[in-house]
Symmetry: C2
Subunit: 249 residues, 2 copies
């Protein structure tokens, strides 16, 4: 470690920590993290989400959170609760969603340490960590310093995504973190007018990847306008009662 020792405090009362990674950006990690967190909360679990994408924190938008978190008298940050999930993100602490966070590795590492240590999580059954699309400082810090119970991989079907997602999967394996499985997102599009199914991003990449790496295939999610709208509007798919194929996240 480049002269920086990161120490995560162990007195947080968190049962299981699950990291969601991909290696490729824009495949739906934040969307999947948001929806899994809310689905777990709806089933009665105590859930938190930590947005570890320091340069591109999208969870505030996905959860529809526009306020800043409180800091209590012990200087602990109170996470913001939405849909039964406690959320923390560096995005809460900058002026606007388009303000760049221009930080090199050591500051990124420090920020992730603080988003874990300095937050009053309370008792949690699950803490989900939404990782950025890289195998660098953020991923190393989380995988080396936090007791991860599982990793989840999100990919889209095409070769470039599968290649990059496989990098993240191999990184989990290298760090001895069991991989719960692979989720394939944007698997196909169904025309709203004539119901024609088009596999814009190809076919079978997620399944092939799970077979090659001997991890479970957790399923496919179609490319649906509703899913993108829910992300932009901060009303996640699982949270709204509508029936869609994405329900099974």
């Amino acid at each position: 470690k480049v002269g920086l020792t990161v120490s995560f405090k162990t007195e947080q009362k968190i049962k299981d920590i699950i990291a969601i990674a991909s290696g490729k950006g824009g495949v739906g990690k934040s969307t999947v993290s948001t929806n899994i967190a809310i689905a777990l909360a709806k089933s009665g679990k105590k859930v938190g989400v930590l947005d570890a994408d320091i340069h591109g924190p999208n969870l505030p938008i996905m959860f529809g959170i526009h306020e800043k978190p409180f800091v209590n008298e012990n200087k602990r940050i109170i996470p913001i609760e939405r849909y039964g999930v406690k959320v923390i993100s560096l995005g809460f602490l900058v002026e606007s969603p388009s303000t760049p966070i221009i930080w090199r590795g050591p500051l990124v590492t420090k920020a992730i340490e603080q988003l874990y240590n300095d937050v009053e999580w309370g008792e949690l059954d699950y803490l989900l960590i939404d990782l950025p699309p890289e195998t660098g400082d953020a991923a190393l810090t989380v995988m080396q310093s936090l007791p991860l119970k599982y990793g989840i991989i999100v990919t889209t079907p095409q070769d470039v995504s599968v290649a990059d997602a496989s990098k993240a999967l191999k990184m989990f394996k290298k760090m001895n973190i069991p991989v719960l499985g692979v989720i394939e997102n944007m698997s196909y599009f169904i025309c709203p007018k004539c119901s024609e199914k088009t596999e814009i991003f190809g076919h079978g990449g997620g399944e092939r990847m799970s077979l090659e790496n001997e991890v479970p295939f957790l399923g496919k999610i179609p490319l649906e306008t509703k899913v993108r709208e829910s992300g932009d509007n901060g009303m996640p798919t699982v949270a709204s009662s509508e029936e869609t194929e994405t329900k099974h996240i």
Copy 2:
């Protein structure tokens, strides 16, 4: 700079360097970089592309390059030429496209310096730099140490992409790098069966962003299966003679 001085050699005979950024992953930066480079080469310009996405180098796949570059007796790396474009990527130097490059900031910075300094580019009219989706080490190293003539921003229409792409745009501005403009990608999908147009990722984000930031809007690219296929097969859209709406990249 964190104890690391990066010095880019100035004796390279490169006229203009253009960086292509986004802040958000998976919006089409590599696809756009590849196609712009080939279009410039087809118009008679001498062009090179440097893949600065150290953790997720996709240019080898996009250009259909599967061999390793030569190193000459002066230890200079000879870039690999395809479609008239000289290409260099860390992806050429790893065992397989799914091998993770698990490096923290300082190594990423060093790698970018070497991909610029140690390569025998020869005379170039343009060197395009395909940046990773972040505002950290790679972006800072390129923007602080290389004489960039322009920056180009790629986004998709939805809010989360526009927010992150705006971060990269603001970073160019902060570093006094003129922004050539904003390209909006995946703007709409046309059903192959009934020609129904669906704006899966929303409408108008790219134009709104260019207006708010007072930079030119360079146009829209539709979401087309052909574009994704050409990326996976290493036969970029512009290179093939087929007529598609994406031709105007």
